[in-house]
Amino acid sequence: MKVTGRHAWYAVAVYLGVALGVSIYTFVYAKGYSYLTNDPRACLNCHVMKEQYDGWVKAPHRNVAACNDCHTPHNLIGKFATKANNGFWHSYYFTTQTYAEPIRITARNRRIALNNCRSCHAAVTDAIDGIHQGSGRLDCLRCHQNVGH
């Protein structure tokens, strides 16, 4: 049989189809879609977060706040930018197993969490900040670092 360009493109289509199929299967198997939701169990996809999840389940904030409520900004763009940024680096370090335990929050993520304390507890924090003119030393997490989990 004479091999024509058309035959070659069929083969390419098969290659790409297989690669795409494997990718889709991997995405579904890894519950990739769950990262678009607000479900705390998405964070538990990686067992490294089990301790934090277990702590949250048994802590008081579980009734009022999920992971994203404290750990992502309260606006749509900021939320998904943070999810993308953390999602990439968490996946990278978890896949390559190049992270140190116990895991520690980054400066950026800590800032986000701190802003969210102030967002929900504004009535209290505004009163405190008012007297002290928002001093940088006023840091909820210095004392309340275990409040979420």
């Binding site: 024509t4 690669a19 990718s23 991997t26 978890f94 335990e101």
Partner: protein, 265 residues
């Protein structure tokens, strides 16, 4: 239509690219499967634990990370709240400790006068971590000043298994029996400072209360508000248990020779 040899090149390149992509995605898939398998067994059972194992090193074989955290209580340098600092001392026959915590009596000699006649006027130091609680109580000068009772062991050693054994399976009886012993006699029955078994059920790892005085005290307290037969191990919430397990030892108490137990104040 392209010429056949050019088409072959494109076709070949596309094939290689698709193969590399497939390999990369499959490698990721296998990695994800491995991580998911890890999650199914949060710990690997190396030893079987039961209600008689006081040695934290044995528990540590199943829970190495938690055991590492427990062992960090030996730290006398990087303490979170300041606290005890290592002070070297020359070991003697009677007291083999080569490091102790700083003496509060030396820091404030007025305490010696204020506490004259009281055992603490002889030796009073900063508390060290849990790892040293039994050792420091065994060798303190206070032992020489006043004959200490076995009741002191209640919160300075892993007493759960010893209480059970002494009471023939009855925790309360064992506790009462140990309280009546002299300190040196009771000391022979225990081997470790507070340990995993004192707060955890060895089968489920659930938090639990093992100190009879706390069980008794809570029962009496709850009875005063009309709740009969309160048992924290059965009815306390997890959040309460997280405080209770610490509270079963970190509590104000007074000793009474009239009753066998320790009164909760």
């Amino acid at each position: 239509m392209q010429k056949p040899h050019k088409t072959y090149k494109t076709f070949f390149a596309a094939g290689v690219a698709a193969a590399i992509a497939a390999v990369a995605v499959l490698a990721l898939l296998v990695n994800i499967i491995e991580r998911k398998t890890e999650a199914k067994n949060p710990f690997f059972r190396v030893v079987d634990l039961d209600d008689t194992v006081s040695d934290p090193a044995v528990w540590g074989k199943n829970f190495p990370l938690q055991y590492d955290g427990y062992k960090r209580t030996v730290d006398m340098v990087r303490t979170r709240f300041g606290g005890s600092e290592a002070t070297p001392r020359t070991p003697t026959q009677a007291d083999p400790r080569s490091v102790v915590a700083q003496s509060r009596l030396d820091e404030d000699p007025r305490l010696k006068t204020m506490w004259a006649g009281y055992a603490f006027s002889k030796d009073f130091r900063e508390e060290r971590g849990h790892a040293f609680m039994l050792e420091d109580q065994t060798y303190t000068e206070r032992q020489k000043a006043v004959a200490q009772p076995g009741a002191c062991m209640s919160c300075h050693a892993s007493t759960y298994a010893a209480h059970k054994k002494l009471g023939g399976g009855d925790l309360l009886k064992g506790f009462e029996a140990m309280n009546k012993l002299s300190y040196p006699e009771a000391r022979k029955l225990v081997d470790h400072p507070v340990s995993c078994i004192d707060c955890h059920d060895p089968k489920t790892m659930d938090l639990r209360i093992t100190r009879p005085a706390f069980l008794e005290g809570m029962r009496n307290l709850k009875e005063s508000s009309g709740i009969k037969d309160y048992d924290p191990n059965k009815t306390a919430t997890r959040q309460e248990m997280r405080s209770f397990v610490c509270g079963q030892c970190h509590v104000e108490y007074c000793m009474s020779s009239a009753i066998s137990g320790i009164l909760l104040a």
